[in-house]
Amino acid sequence: MKSTEQLEQQLKRHSKAAKLEIWGKVVSFSALLLIVAVVVAIIGFVASKGLATFFSNHVSLWDFLSGKSWNPGVTDAHGKPEVGALPMIVGSFLITILSAIVATPFAIGTAVFMNEISPNKGAKILQPVTELLVGIPSVVYGFIGLSVVVPVTRAVFGGSGFGILSGTCVLFVMILPTVTSMSVDALRSVPRYYREASLALGATQWQTIYKVVLRAATPGMMTAVVFGMARAFGEALAVQMVIGNAALMPGSLVDPASTLTSVLTTGIGNTVMGSLQNNALWSLALVLLLMSLVFNLIIRLIGRKGRLQ
């Protein structure tokens, strides 16, 4: 006979399966926590390094954002270091917006073609090709830009061929597959009966596409474009290879310029940790990080607005 105490103990103890369950839950949750910790660590480290320019080196935020000369090792006439990041910020935004403007009509046109006009050809030819191109490494795009786009720009517009225009061309081709495949997903999520209802009302195929399908898919399309812009903004090596890397205000589209990412990739290895030159580069990284958060927020807002309709 077991005493009641023993019985009580036996009943209250976790069974083997329950222990396994707890163990599994703890392990899988710690894996998740690890990812969150990584995100917090990345933001924390980059922010602490990036803010050092303003707190330890006492550069004013306004000088950093609006100054036009970037030469952190040199001090200007007033004894202040030249850490104007405006040329890079302008370069990054210009190249992002231009490539998005060029890529959007092509991407949406192709997506409409793939999904509405010729689904067969779309599935057979375009789908696999875009899927493959999404996966092509960015250095390959950069190399092709360097060996094809830059010489062509040089021949047509003169100058060195390096600059915003070449960068835009490379990024255009680079984000095209991404934006296209995301737009296809947006079109696919439009219910079939929308099209049927419109066609039954006597609308032509184009009227159906333009007035019904595209309207219904607008939030998804916008997400696709913002996603492409985020990718273009954060792209480093492909842009760095074709933009010319001159930290000057871009005078025209064919002058050498630079972006946040290009200055970071070329500069961070050539500066001493903790020096002003180095801290200023981390501030650029912080701008890059903040912008990627902003793009994230925009995508979120579009998603929320799209759901309400």
Binding site: F45, T110, T130, E131, P137, S138, V139, W282
Partner: protein, 295 residues
């Protein structure tokens, strides 16, 4: 006002034109990579070490480094992503904690890879004093890979019917046992597809590596498999330039006379590898699905 029918014809014709142009651009791109790259490929090119000043160097060490880094990064990131995905899909309740965690993962996936690389440089190379090494590079690639892999595994779990979970629970299995014995085996084909596709992305990544795995490829002695020797291919503490970094490096500061030919060849190798990964993902996924479900 044009007749709607004419308008329709014009618009559809334009769309044909746009799609045709895009196909042309994409085909020209692929064609250029393969046509300029394939003639460079040879056994010598794929196995010989690179030469800094002379022509005729290969990419053997870089190619090996790419694969070694890929395998290490996958070994580190797969268990973490698997655990995270299981918790997110099977356990997490729909509350603000879960929403916050999802937001964090989304943020990580949208971070530019150069920022991830810089963080890796700051944390592993400088703070933990690992130096430019394969290990630092593998960790940076892990961070780059985690959100994508987690999402793809979660999607795989989502494709498994809820009746399978209910069946497992009804048999008296715990949730964890249901996941590991019922759900995961059923999800293996699509998880594998996701893993291979993400491997393709990791294989071509360069920006996260230039300041973590470094930009130099010291000579390796392929007869020495002791991981503690500096020239051993298995040593995780040596700097390791990968193929993608190599393309970038020789185009921005290379001085060998055949830099362009080597980059063409390397680009073709990268693209072929990605193609291979894509086909493998599709083929293995289908094959495994057939075998595991006896469909």
């Amino acid at each position: 006002m044009i007749n709607p029918k004419t308008q329709n014809k014009i618009a559809i014709g334009t769309l044909y034109g746009v799609a045709g142009l895009v196909v042309l651009i994409l085909m020209a791109l692929l064609g250029y990579i393969l046509i300029s790259g394939l003639p460079q490929l040879s056994w010598h090119f794929l196995t010989a070490p690179a030469k800094a000043f002379l022509k005729g160097g290969g990419v053997g060490i870089q190619l090996y480094n790419s694969f070694y880094l890929l395998i290490l990064a996958m070994l580190i990131s797969f268990p973490i992503a698997l655990g995270a995905a299981i918790y997110l899909y099977e356990y997490a309740k729909d509350n603000w904690v879960t929403t916050t965690i999802r937001t964090a993962i989304e943020i990580l996936s949208s971070l530019p890879s150069v920022v991830v690389g810089l963080f890796g440089f700051l944390f592993f190379v400088v703070k933990l004093n690992l130096g430019f090494s394969i290990l630092s590079g593998a960790f940076a690639l892990t961070f780059f890979n985690l959100p994508l892999l987690t999402r793809s595994i979660e999607d795989s779990l989502r494709t498994i019917d809820t009746t399978q979970r209910e069946g497992g629970l009804a048999l008296g299995l715990s949730r964890w046992e249901t996941v590991t014995r019922v759900i995961l085996p059923a999800a293996v084909p699509s998880i594998l597809t996701g893993v291979i596709l993400s491997a393709g992305r990791v294989f071509g990544e360069a920006a996260a590596l230039i300041y973590t795995a470094g930009q130099s490829a010291p000579a390796l002695d392929f007869t020495d498999w002791n991981p503690f020797n500096i020239s051993s291919p298995l040593n995780p503490m040596r700097p390791a330039e990968t193929l993608a970094v190599h393309i970038w490096k020789i185009n921005s500061e290379g001085i060998m006379p055949d830099a362009k030919a080597i980059s063409s060849g390397s680009s073709a190798v990268l693209v072929l590898a990605i193609l291979l990964f894509n086909f493998a993902a599709r083929y293995l996924g289908k094959r495994l699905y057939k075998r595991l479900t006896s469909a």
